[in-house]
Symmetry: C2
Subunit: 307 residues, 2 copies
């Protein structure tokens, strides 16, 4: 039986890497020949998780051969997936996003639910298959849920995510608040990232109304620490606007402690941010109180304002 | 809460109509406001099932309004779905086909498994939600499985479909062989169908290599009964070839008792059938022994031969 490769999206976050790992563990327990992979370097948050457990991270891959059997986690859109995905043999998908730019030639197993985290769905797969969740696997899944929901504070977090986290906590036996904050803080150490890296760390290019935009996000425990670098960030953003012919670039600097985001908005359509949130951009920046989720609180709000 | 409409594909078969009915029953038991619908007239096989149980069939609909919440069963490709699907709000999909020409703007619940029948997946959803399956629901689900797998003889039938059918049989308390054969036979009564209707009853237009083809299928208990009408069928097929600019039309007349198919092949690429199955077309027709599944035994075999 040819080995099946399991991986999340490019520029992987904690949910993408951990979902590959824990789903691979489940498939192996069910007798399948699989290997967990990742499509990019670990970010500091994810590195914290694997170091904490003294585990080796999934294998780095860049492309797959034609007919390679694969399982996708935490994504489905081909532009976000591995190079060569169009000709791979997709056996299974486990995801919590919309479905777009995805197709297969053969029937497959597809499991998506509108939950806050892919690992919440994988938790259910362990239950349905009656496979035991070890302490290590529980800590991994909890880490992914904490990461995707910013410690349950993001509006993407559902009651089911919270229930599952509470069941996982019983197995994990850790202090969620303490561990979670340490983990999230580890991810906010941007001291050795260049401004160019920083605006690309977690950026999505999207159409807003009829113009092209990028919405990037970085987490921090201190907005002023990041804003100290405003001048060099704006140079990097202006270069990206030129390179990708964008009408708008929004960088959301999200305070994970107080659940606010400072945004830097540049480009000819930057005033859409003022209209969308009823704020005044001063020196290209404004504080958006209570805004932490790009998916729920930024993308749809900018889209509405553009109409 | 706005009512959610549940429906299968256009030109509905038994699995499409029954899946809408039994999933609606499950969602209602879980407190949801839903209605089972269908996108076309019942075929005779499906009519047999609803008459047998003295049940009213799902509501006929032709289109949906913008933002209408919907659940798709037994299909996902927009060209096979209701008019207006592009602007509907797709909440959920339960299906057993490949995924193609499908997309959503929002995360959704998507459950696909490579099983022989959508109802086998819905059976699992009843179990996972601990909702009781009544005798009536069991007979409906069994009917869909028997229909899609031709009484478990099609190569699309998996061991899991058989296991599920056996569990359903315990609840249904009917003689599967006897009931199933009666039901399949009811569907083979084509006496009041014109030749034009007959070649459209269950036809799929596909690309084979680089040319356009249609593969149609009708079930029968007696191949000679259908072949009596060969002359008028060929006239209807030639008209369809002209109208749709096809290079090939294959009509598979499938003997559900003996699991063979007599094919009528017309069009400039008709010789691909000879190459694919190592047979000689005489008077445009040949018997393909053991061939019953378009998905598994016709489409891929013709595609290989075309390369």
């Amino acid at each position: 039986m040819e080995k099946i490769l399991i991986f999340g999206h490019k520029s992987p976050d904690t949910d993408s890497v951990v979902s590959a790992y824990v789903l691979a563990n489940l498939e192996q327990k069910l007798g399948k020949n699989v290997e967990a992979c990742r499509l990019g370097n670990l970010n500091k948050e994810t590195k914290y998780v694997f170091d904490y457990l003294n585990l080796e991270a999934p294998t780095l891959i860049k492309e797959v051969e034609e007919k390679q059997p694969v399982i996708l986690v935490d994504h489905n859109e081909f532009p976000q997936s591995v190079d060569g995905i169009q000709k791979a043999s997709i056996m299974k998908v486990v995801d919590h996003h919309r479905i777009k730019e995805f197709e297969t030639e053969e029937p497959l197993y597809y499991r998506a639910e509108p939950l806050g985290c892919t690992c919440s769905i994988i938790y259910k797969l362990y239950q349905e298959n009656q496979v035991e969740i070890t302490k290590e696997i529980a800590i991994l899944m909890l880490s992914a849920i904490i990461s995707d929901t910013l410690l349950f504070k993001s509006p993407t977090c559902t009651p089911e995510d919270k229930e599952i986290a509470s069941k996982l906590q019983e197995i994990a036996g850790i202090d969620i608040e303490k561990y979670g904050l340490e983990m999230l803080k580890a991810g906010t150490d941007l001291s050795d990232s260049t401004a160019e890296d920083l605006i690309k760390l977690d950026a999505k290019e999207v159409m807003i109304g009829n113009f092209k935009a990028q919405i990037a996000q970085v987490n921090t425990a201190s907005i002023p620490d990041v804003m100290k670098r405003q001048a060099e960030l704006e140079v990097a953003i202006e270069n990206m606007i030129q390179e990708r012919e964008l009408a708008l670039f929004v960088l959301a600097i999200t305070d994970i402690i107080n659940s606010n985001s400072q945004v830097i908005a540049l480009g000819e359509k930057a005033d859409i941010v003022e209209k969308a949130y009823q704020v005044k951009l001063e020196n290209h920046t404004a504080l958006l109180e209570g805004i932490v989720s790009r998916k729920k609180q930024i993308l749809p709000v900018l889209s509405s304002a553009a109409q």
